[in-house]
Amino acid sequence: MSSHIVWMIVGMAAVTYIPRLLPFVLFKGKELPGFVQGILKNVPYATLGALIFPGILFINEDIWFGLLGAAAAFLAAFLGANVIVVVLGSIAVLSVYSFLF
């Protein structure tokens, strides 16, 4: 292993771990103001929106590929399917799509 690369990896590990860790230390046992708590409760759903769009449109040069995958996942989830079924179902739909086109 080259020490140059190992140092890079150690540096990357440190700057990745710190933001993950810090909130648990900084806000330990602290009651945050109500408005801030409200915002933090909103964060998961807002994050999911931002993680899905626009990323899902660019998983393939063919934009319909991502849109079809999103539609399949949405439909399966809307009908109450378990997350794992949603994932496998979308993969299956896209496999059929790329087999046909």
Partner: protein, 238 residues
């Protein structure tokens, strides 16, 4: 509440593992490709595995490879990694509100495993998040990430083209699968997700912000605006 959170640690661990399976499936093709690209960039299998073991952050690891092949210096690569991963600060802050554990050391150790995916799965959980659950969730995701990174380098090939392409939807499908049940229950969730999606799409398409910052800012803007609107509405209702 305390007994609830501590009780049946092994059951919680198993539930965590079950929730992590979708992540493990989604990580597999990405990690295989990472291993393959790392080999093409000239990293040894040891270095490739070490990076996945210590960093455990997909986007940043991919970016480091392309920067390495451009001959970028270590300092810039580490700085870029920091900027890309700063979004986890927001996720940990949010998760800290719902994750109960008197034992501070558990959170210190397990926070290593907070990724976009493990955060999303844990954050939409209806029950309180426990350390046993997080351990199960993270260990299965982490195992998939590290093992598949090594395998990608070792085999020097990824999955068959068609399967690889289809599987690229996996993590996005998982995010949709996590979001939709909450959307059905609450209009607020629909607004939160749609608003953040719009902001992030604007930031990305106009190329105004790097990916890491775009997600942080889109999330915060949406979370603050929706909370503010709700407060105003409640006040008017009196």
């Amino acid at each position: 509440m305390a007994e609830l959170a501590v009780g049946k640690p092994s059951g919680e661990y198993r539930k965590g593992v079950q929730s992590g399976i979708s992540i493990a499936i989604g990580y597999a093709p990405i990690a295989l490709t990472f291993g393959l690209l790392a080999k093409a960039t000239g990293l040894s299998i040891g270095e490739t595995a070490l990076m996945s073991l210590l960093v455990f952050a997909g986007a940043a690891q991919y970016i480091s490879l392309s920067l390495l092949s451009l001959g970028t210096g270590i300092f810039e690569i580490v700085l870029t990694t920091f900027i890309v991963n700063i979004r986890h600060f927001l996720m940990s802050t949010s998760l800290n509100e719902t994750w109960d554990d008197e034992q501070a050391a558990n959170k210190v150790i397990l926070s290593f495993g907070i990724t976009d995916e493990t955060f999303s799965v844990a954050a939409v959980r209806e029950e309180k998040v426990t350390s046993g659950y997080m351990l199960g969730l993270i260990s299965v995701s982490y195992a998939s990430w590290v093992i598949c990174s090594g395998l990608g380098h070792l085999i020097g090939a990824s999955l068959p083209q068609t399967l690889q392409e289809s599987m690229s939807v996996a993590l996005y499908a998982m995010f949709v699968g996590l979001l939709v049940p909450s959307m059905k229950k609450s209009a607020k969730v629909v607004f939160l997700a749609a608003l953040a999606a719009c902001f992030n799409t604007i930031f990305t398409l106009t190329d105004t912000l790097s990916t890491g910052w775009a997600i942080v800012l889109a999330t915060l803007l949406s979370a603050v605006i929706v909370e503010w609107i709700e407060n105003v509405k409640n006040r008017h209702r009196g």
